[in-house]
Symmetry: none
Subunit: 214 residues, 4 copies
Amino acid sequence: MDTTTGPKSDPDQELSRSQRRRRNDIVEAALKVFDRDGYEAAKMIDIAKEAEVAKGTLYLYFENKSVLLEGVIQTAILPALEQIGGAAKVHTGSAQELLEHHIRIIAARQASPEMKMLIRLMISAPEQHAQLIRFFHGHVVQEGLELIRSTLRTGVESGEFRPDVADMDPLVLVGSHVYAPVWHNLFQDEGPLDIDRLVEDNLKMVMSGLLVRS
Amino acid sequence: MDTTTGPKSDPDQELSRSQRRRRNDIVEAALKVFDRDGYEAAKMIDIAKEAEVAKGTLYLYFENKSVLLEGVIQTAILPALEQIGGAAKVHTGSAQELLEHHIRIIAARQASPEMKMLIRLMISAPEQHAQLIRFFHGHVVQEGLELIRSTLRTGVESGEFRPDVADMDPLVLVGSHVYAPVWHNLFQDEGPLDIDRLVEDNLKMVMSGLLVRS
Amino acid sequence: MDTTTGPKSDPDQELSRSQRRRRNDIVEAALKVFDRDGYEAAKMIDIAKEAEVAKGTLYLYFENKSVLLEGVIQTAILPALEQIGGAAKVHTGSAQELLEHHIRIIAARQASPEMKMLIRLMISAPEQHAQLIRFFHGHVVQEGLELIRSTLRTGVESGEFRPDVADMDPLVLVGSHVYAPVWHNLFQDEGPLDIDRLVEDNLKMVMSGLLVRS
Amino acid sequence: MDTTTGPKSDPDQELSRSQRRRRNDIVEAALKVFDRDGYEAAKMIDIAKEAEVAKGTLYLYFENKSVLLEGVIQTAILPALEQIGGAAKVHTGSAQELLEHHIRIIAARQASPEMKMLIRLMISAPEQHAQLIRFFHGHVVQEGLELIRSTLRTGVESGEFRPDVADMDPLVLVGSHVYAPVWHNLFQDEGPLDIDRLVEDNLKMVMSGLLVRS
DNA sequence: GATGAATGAGGGTTCATTCAT
DNA sequence: GATGAATGAACCCTCATTCAT
């Protein structure tokens, strides 16, 4: 006989439909409150109210505040980022086309509200999120940069790109895009970032630079 | 003028030499602790210990924790940023040289530890730092971008730059540099950012793009 | 009689066979957990798990935690004590033999695990167990002491015991035995109590004292 | 400059007069509340009110509830017990006199309110007080029993006591006295224990037993 | 001015109890 | 009847702030 108490007992699979919904409500409420107040200042009672459950209910689904944050990241943030990036691998074409594709993907990924919040959480309390940061660095940042890097090399090999760009730091190609979540966090009130225009301008510069051709 | 009240009464003028020193000790201690722990997690007692004063003394110089943070920003962070940027205005030369100069200045400014901390503080609690963010946006970000923008126009007018870069979003020219403080906050443990190489690669790309010239 | 209500309605009579079994499982589980953790620290969920029922089921049989404790005492503890003492009344013989018999009975009774637990529960929360304590005092302690007292008088009357022991406090005859449950609660880890030897030594002393006979 | 915060920083020596008084107030308040409610049920806020300080003040003097308990034991309970026992070592005389002296000392020690509370605390939560119990067993119980044991041997050697009492378990000589704190915890409402009479009766029995001398 | 002991509001967490299924 | 998810009162502890010395 299963006499375990709550949904916490089997964290991954065996939640009933209504429990999954409840868990999701909590995650979304937490996402909202963490996003609004930051992790430290966020109050469990506010998350509970936002999710329309009692305070104790939060602890049926998440061991404590820190685990709830992990849940938010695992359930709401990382999947959202991966979805965006999913298409990156199925493209073919010239190195220039490929590079353009990658840059567009990366820019789109950075523009998501999840990325905005992820950046905020990680910067707010890096010590407490060391694991998350390592994961993010390895699986989002480095992976994205590596995509650029390999495309640069492909382009050099194919003769499309100048030889000296083979070991260019990929960050210079996407710096303005990875900065987008920071902009969103800080300057949304001062005026939005025109992502599309940024992408086009970035591509223009990346491909041709600024100088007139002699 | 009333001189019977404490050092708080007139923040700029009426401090004795020793009071100014004391105030400075506190600001530096606060800078260190805010940087290490973040604003929310920073404890007043730790700042007091770091400054080698009693807890109550903090409140003789700063009304409360939030005001202390403002003091840190006004006293230690913003001046440091302006110092770096100070040289920006005294340059002459070709548009290309000028642009290179500005980019180098901006990159250097972003690399400073003060910028790292400023970004962290603002992102951690944007609501509480709305004023600061507005100031930062107006006097650091927009000013820097405007510098780039006007140089782009100058270069177009002088025929150095292609005509279509006149309206280019300046952020694409310095995105990887303004991202540096974020990188420092998050990924210092995973490996440093080679700022110098980033600048050179950035300049290379900015000027010439990646494509081989036909 | 109303039979629509649950098993709680009439604690003695109207339980089906399976309900009696269920009730017993709960009482035994509670006994174990109360004994292990103490009343305050004992968790209802642990008792439910131990009894292999759901938490809510506990409340079908016992109104609340306190009533459950009463149930444990009434159902499991007191009967066990009376069983041991049951034989006390059927003895005849010399006062010395009778006294020896009573002391052995009392010693055995005190050595039981139920007594250990009863003492712990009563001492942990005397205010909440005032009724139980009164019952225990009246029906176990005083009854036992009275048995000793009357035997002392019998022995004095019969000339077996010295006259001045007629109104001796009976506790001095069994103090080391009634202390046994305390010892078990506190010092079991430091080494067991040799009850049999204690009884023999006690009897030796009780009968003859320590002094050599002149 | 000493910028440490509170009196906790140097737990043993350097408390000012008023701090010592404050600490003592808290210990006494805690003693009272622990005694009244038991450790688990005792509330920090009640202790604070009893000591007429704010809740936070408790934590200036004691790290947490558990440490406060240790403080109560170290400061109020153990010294009280040792005071009573202090005289035990300075006695000389016949073995009989010595034994009587020791028994009186032990009886007096057990009768103290501190002992009552100590027993309650240890029995209520033995797992959490394992260290205290070991200390108590080693330094109070065994030491007391050893005193009896060695006196018995002395008496046997001197010919005062019968030879067969040399290995007698000392607990049988003082069982009714060490039971006293248990009695006080449980049965104070049902009638007090007449300690003096208990001691006299105990001595009478210990020396001469009950039987008439042939 | 400087100190640091004292304050007490506030937050995270636990767990006895309830009640819809 | 049986279940266990949900509830929310209660409690420990922290720490920004105050104020008597």
